[in-house]
Subunit: 401 residues, 2 copies
Amino acid sequence: MTPADAPGTGSTETARSTEPSQHGTTVSELDSPESIAAEVSAGIEAFLELKAAEFLAISPDADDIGRALLEFTRGGKMIRPVLLWWGFQLASGDDSSRSALNGGVAEAAGSLELLHAAALIHDDVIDHSDTRRGKPALHRQFESRHSERRFQGGAEPFGVAAAIVIGDICLALSEELFEKSQSVLGITPSARDLRATLRRDVMVGQYLDVLAEVVPLDDARIGERAWEVLSFKSAKYSVEQPLLLGAALGGADEEQLAEISRFGLPLGQAFQLRDDVLGIFGDPAATGKPAGDDIREGKRTVLIAESMKNLNSEQTQIMAERLGDPDLSDSEVAECVSMLTESGGLDAVESFIRSKHDEALSVVREWATDSSPVSSTRTRIGPTAQRQLTKFAEALSYRKS
Amino acid sequence: MTPADAPGTGSTETARSTEPSQHGTTVSELDSPESIAAEVSAGIEAFLELKAAEFLAISPDADDIGRALLEFTRGGKMIRPVLLWWGFQLASGDDSSRSALNGGVAEAAGSLELLHAAALIHDDVIDHSDTRRGKPALHRQFESRHSERRFQGGAEPFGVAAAIVIGDICLALSEELFEKSQSVLGITPSARDLRATLRRDVMVGQYLDVLAEVVPLDDARIGERAWEVLSFKSAKYSVEQPLLLGAALGGADEEQLAEISRFGLPLGQAFQLRDDVLGIFGDPAATGKPAGDDIREGKRTVLIAESMKNLNSEQTQIMAERLGDPDLSDSEVAECVSMLTESGGLDAVESFIRSKHDEALSVVREWATDSSPVSSTRTRIGPTAQRQLTKFAEALSYRKS
C-alpha cells in the first residue's frame, strides 16, 4: 500500500493514539527488512516526486532541488526505517488491523530516512567529504554543475551553499512526511517527545563530534567524549530511538519503552563501535572508504581513546601529530594503525562489541516466550521473530561494511 | 502568562482546532507589537534555558550550543511573531476566552523566530558575512572560540562546522516549540500545511537566491528570478505566511485566509523591495551595513533587474564585472550606485513599493467596518486596529533601517 492510499489520510487526528497497546499478544513474525525497505523507499520516492513538482511550480530554477534529493535518497541502507517499523510491530502485536496502518508507519519510517539524508548532506560539507554512497557528495555535485553550466563566481562555495540549503530543505521535508503519518497514526505526547529528542540528539552528537576533533589529544575527557559522540550521534539515533519512536507510535507504554531501550541502546553502541573498527580496519573494497580513512579524518573514536591509554609518550606524540592530517602517506597511516592493534585498543573495542551485543541479545531472549513461558515482559515474541531480531543484530554488530 | 503556565499543556490534542472561527465579530484593538515582542521573547528565553540544561546534561561540551542560541535570538525585530499573533487575533476576534490561548500563540510565534534565527545562521555561513545584529556572525564567534581555547586544526572550518550544526539544532528547536503550541491550540490540516509551506518556501527561496548570484547578468530570467527570490525568500515568509499561519491557528476558513493574503503578500513585497533599496541606498549608521553592501555581495535584486533594462552595453559590462566583487573600491561602488539611479531603476522600485503598499492598505480599509458598515469581509476591524495595521505597514514599507 502506498502512503497516499492509506485510510484516514486527510483527517486531522485519529483516536488511534489513545487505543491501548496489545499487551500480552505475541509477535510471531516481523515483516522482512527487504519488504520494509521496498515499501518505505516507494513512499519516499512518491513523496519527493510530489515535492519536486511543487518546487518546479515555484521556479524552473528549483527543479534541481527535487532531482538531487530523489537521487540522494536512493540506495540508503534503511536501518532506521526497519527499526522504526519493527518497534511499531513489537508494540502493536500481531493485530490484524495493523496492516491498515502500514501506510502511516511507512511515512514515519521514511521521515527518519529523510532526516538521515539531511544529516549526511551537512556532514559531508563539514567533513569535506568527496563521495557518499559511491557517488560524489552533494556539495561536489553542485560544484560540478557550476562548472558545467558556466556559472559565475567560485564553484566550491556554490556547492557548499547549495548543499547547506538543500540539507535544510531535506530536514523540512522530513518533518512534513512525519506530519503526514500523523493523520493515519495519530500522535501521543510520548511519541512527540521521542521524535523531538531523536532529531535533536543526533545534531548535538554531531556538534560534540566536531568539537572532539579539535580538542587536543591529551584532553582529560577524551574517553568520555568519545562515548558521548558514539551514543548521541549514532547509537541512540540509529538504533535505540527509531525502535522507541516506532513502539510509541504503536502504543507502547513507559514500561515497554524501557524494555526496548535495554535492547536498542547496547545494540546501537555495538553498531557504532563496529563502524569505528571498520573505519580503520575495514576492507576498502567492502566499505567503499580508503584504508585508515578515520586516521586522516582525525575521528576521535572510542578505539582511539582506548589505544591512547597504553601508548608511551613518543607514540602519543606521533599519534597527536598525525591524527586528522589529510596528507599522511600510506606508511604513516599504517604505523598509526599498528599502534591501535599493539596498544590493545582494537582488542578492547572488540570486547566492548561482544559484551554490548550479548547484552542486547539477552533482552531478546527474555522477550521470547518460547524460552521463558512465564515471561513478565510487555514485549513477547515467537521463535521466528526472535531469529529475525538476532540475525539483524548480528548484521549490525559484526558486519564487514 | 508564560508558555509553561498555559492551560492544556500536556494533553495530546484539544478540540480547539475544530471550533468555528468568530465570524462577524469586530476586532477593536490588536495587542501592541511591544507587548507581543516581550511575551514571545520571554517564552523563547524560557524554552532555550530549558533546552540548554538538557544539552548540558548530555555533555559539558554541549553547553556552548544553548548559550550561543540564547544570545543569538536576543535583539531580533520580531516582525514575524507580531504578524502571527495579529493573524490569530484577526481570525479569532475579540473573544474574551482568547487570552487563555496566548501561551500557545506565543509558542507558535516564538517558533517562527527560532526558524528565522536558524535561517540567518546558515545565511551568514553561505554569504560569508562577518556580522549579524551588531555582533560577530555565529560562525565567526566559534572561529574566535577556536583560537581562544587553543583548539587544533583550522579555526575557520571549525566555525563553519559549528554554525551549520547549531543552525540545524535551531531548526529542530523551532519544530519543538511549534509542537508545544499544539497542546494548547490544537492543529488543523490547513495550519499544518501552512507551517510546512512556510518553512519550505523560505529555503527554496534561499536556494533561488544562491543560484541567482552565480547566473550571468544577461540571463533572460533575471527579472523573473528576482521576483521569485523576493516573494519566496522574503515577502511570503516574512509577512504573508506568518499572518496566515496565525489566522489558521485562530480558526480562519479558506475565505478569510484569502483575504489575509491579499493584504500580506503585497505588503511583504513592499517590505522586501524596501530592504533592497536600503541595502544600497541606506544610511550605514541606521542599517548597520556598509554603503552599497549589496553591490559587493552581488545580490540580484529587483532593483538591479530594473536598472539593467536601461543600461547601455558599456554600463552593462561594468555592472557585470563589479557585481559580487567583494574587493571593489568605494568609488567603484559609487559608480554602480549612480547607474541604479540614472537608469531609473530606483524610481521604478520606489513606484513598485508605493503601489504594493497601497494595495495592502486598500484591503485594510475594506476590513474597517467604520468606513464600510456593510462590509462583506470575514475580517472586521475597528478604527484602533485599523490605525495599528496602517502604522505597522508603513513601518515595513517606508522604514529607514
